[in-house]
Symmetry: C2
Subunit: 162 residues, 2 copies
């Protein structure tokens, strides 16, 4: 069931918040962009209670942002992949990342997004700051930034590889 | 006091959420972009309890996203204006607006952002879809969209006029 947190608001920002504004939801979507698909991996990266994670994943499936797919039959095991509706949240995630890098990372972003093959960064207009190409989720990969903690790893796989 | 909602996460998306992820905070920032500065106006547009609104405004001031300024001495009255740190959240708001328009507005956005003087819309790369200019918060104004409800008004003033 979709909630109407901001029912008095006839506003697309409010509608978006009703879909992704639940605590942890945006970080689950962020994980999905980093190629994390399985329950246990989400749990490990987020360190949250399994029942909370389960609820959030179910909500994101219900909202059409993730799709739940069987990857093993015995015992049945599922993974969660971004749908197109989910992939279209990429600009929201990237602009949040850029703002956080600018104001909350003390000049040391933990992670940087690079234009695959080119190596440029992502500018405020979601273009490559080296070659000028318009970028989408499929064009970038996360890479180690100067603020990565000792022992902390970068996500394993390029964004939206599936 | 800034909370660390996602303390296990060394991530700029998580840090951004810690600043703007509180319920209602993003809609207060949205209001500020529409030129709403005073407590009573925020209250009227949001329809929320005054104590909740007061807490959120104080938090946004503490976080350096809004500045609180005296506009009348007797009795003392304050207004809240976006700082540069707040204005730099514009891409986050616009990308959320665009996603909500696309997936949650049933083809009828309540409000559209127009390039001032030119009249073009805002494309997914935050450029004018008519003249191609890179757009910032200062270049656009909100205008009536096809999904505006009968009797609902558009915000009074252009974004970031102050």
């Amino acid at each position: 069931m979709l909630r109407r947190d901001y029912s008095t608001q006839n506003c697309s920002v409010a509608r978006t918040l009703e879909v992704i504004g639940e605590r942890w939801s945006i970080l689950i979507i962020r994980n999905a962009f980093y190629g994390i698909r399985r329950f246990d991996e989400h749990e490990r990266w987020l360190g949250i209670a399994r029942n909370v994670l389960q609820k959030r994943l179910e909500l994101l499936v219900e909202q059409g942002i993730l799709s739940k797919e069987l990857y093993q039959e015995r015992p049945p095991r599922h993974e969660y992949r971004l749908t197109q509706k989910g992939i279209d949240l990429w600009p929201v995630l990237v602009t949040m990342l850029q703002w956080g890098d600018r104001y909350e990372a003390k000049g040391k972003p933990p992670l940087v997004l690079l234009h695959q093959g080119c190596g440029g960064g992502v500018d405020p207009h979601l273009r490559c700051d080296k070659c000028g190409a318009d970028l989408t989720a499929r064009d970038v990969e996360p890479s180690k930034g100067p603020g990565l903690l000792p022992g902390q790893t970068t996500p394993r796989v390029p964004a939206v590889s599936g």
